[in-house]
């Protein structure tokens, strides 16, 4: 690593550790306030990890029980869409990290720029996801609403080596698709909440809310956005990749 250093613009008052206007009365100093805020955000994210962890466990157990159905179901995932969405989310995590950095540098224009880029990438992700869901509807792969086992009881032209499933196992592909819609749906819900908050952040950042030395909200939202990215990093291999070779 080189010795490139980053100089954070700080006002005279902060350097002298005087009372910052952003400091709440129950904190000793800005550092403590920031630490407490980050700590609280992480506690929330840990509850989110437990929430998604339960659904991942359900996926793990059902996959072992109805393995052929899960393999057959995942063959109908669109590889290009999943890969593209992974790249889109990783890009959005990068732009979000740069947004936090811009707030740190007190660069209002760059902050708004990076938040807007993150917002656009968030919408691109949701758009691709909506396209996939629409496609699954068209293919009768939505359990409970529009489902047919036809694709799984016959040999598909795309997977000529796949043996057709017996009817009882073919029915179990509904469990794969139920978990698929649950996991991607809850993840997409987090994305919708995320893009809504970004819109709010862009408006308030316009007025200079996070570039005067108080950026806990931007930092904590960044943590949330990266967390949603991590959930997708695990969803992508589990739903799209691990049965692809069979």
């Amino acid at each position: 690593m080189d010795s490139q250093t980053v100089i954070v613009p700080q006002s005279h008052a902060e350097l002298e550790h005087e009372h910052s206007p952003h400091l709440h009365h129950h904190f000793a100093n800005m550092g403590q306030q920031r630490e407490a805020s980050n700590f609280g955000m992480w506690l929330f994210l840990l509850t989110e990890i437990m929430f998604f962890g339960g659904m991942f466990t359900a996926y793990l157990i059902y996959r072992n029980w109805y393995y052929p159905a899960f393999v057959a179901g995942s063959h109908y995932m669109k590889m290009w869409a999943g890969t593209l969405n992974t790249v889109v989310l990783i890009c959005s995590s990068f732009t979000m990290a740069m947004g936090v950095y811009s707030a740190e540098m007190r660069n209002r224009k760059n902050l708004i720029r990076y938040l807007s880029l993150t917002l656009i990438l968030g919408f691109v992700f949701l758009g691709i996801k909506a396209y996939e869901w629409h496609n699954e509807w068209v293919e009768h792969h939505v359990p409970g609403l529009n489902f047919s086992i036809n694709d799984f009881t016959h040999v598909d032209a795309r997977y000529p080596t796949d043996k057709p499933l017996k009817v009882d196992m073919a029915e179990k592909t509904q469990i794969y698709f139920s978990l698929y819609f649950l996991l991607t749906g809850v993840h997409a819900l987090h994305m919708v909440v995320g893009v809504s908050i970004i819109i709010f952040l862009i408006f308030t950042a316009w007025g200079g809310a996070y570039t005067t030395g108080h950026m806990n909200l931007i930092e904590n939202f960044g943590l949330y956005w990266h967390f949603v990215d991590i959930v997708w990093i695990f969803l992508f291999p589990l739903l799209y990749l691990i049965s692809r070779h069979q």
Partner: protein, 113 residues
């Protein structure tokens, strides 16, 4: 190293020290590049016949990617011991819950699978 440290003067007897590091864009760009490389790698590996190891390789790559995001994008590499310990205990609890659930499922139909 390409990051800067800011030590805020605090009571040294406090359990958390509020040092504050700003990660440079260069580090972000490197992590970003690594994440893209790992994505390409995992997609490539999924097309190779590895038997049960397809799932293992995919999950190992996912764990590496997740760890990179947590350490650098989420600044955990530079955060206080309190936050580090809290996150580690959270993941430890998740692993305990996963392991106990799996032992339950394996042992209920012992010998029948």
């Amino acid at each position: 190293m390409s990051e800067t440290h800011f030590e805020h003067t605090v009571n040294p007897s406090e359990p958390t020290h509020h040092s504050h590091t700003v990660v440079s864009p260069k580090v972000y760009a490197l992590v970003f590049g690594a994440l893209l490389v790992f994505t390409a790698l995992t997609v490539y590996a999924s097309g190779v016949e590895l038997g049960v190891f397809n799932a293992v390789v995919a999950l190992i790559i996912a764990v590496i990617k997740g760890t990179l995001v947590v350490l650098f994008f989420m600044h955990i590499k530079y955060s206080s011991k309190l936050v580090k310990l809290t996150i580690c205990s959270g993941f430890f609890t998740l692993i305990v819950l996963l392991a106990l659930t799996c032992t339950d499922y394996i042992s209920r139909a012992w010998g029948l699978w």
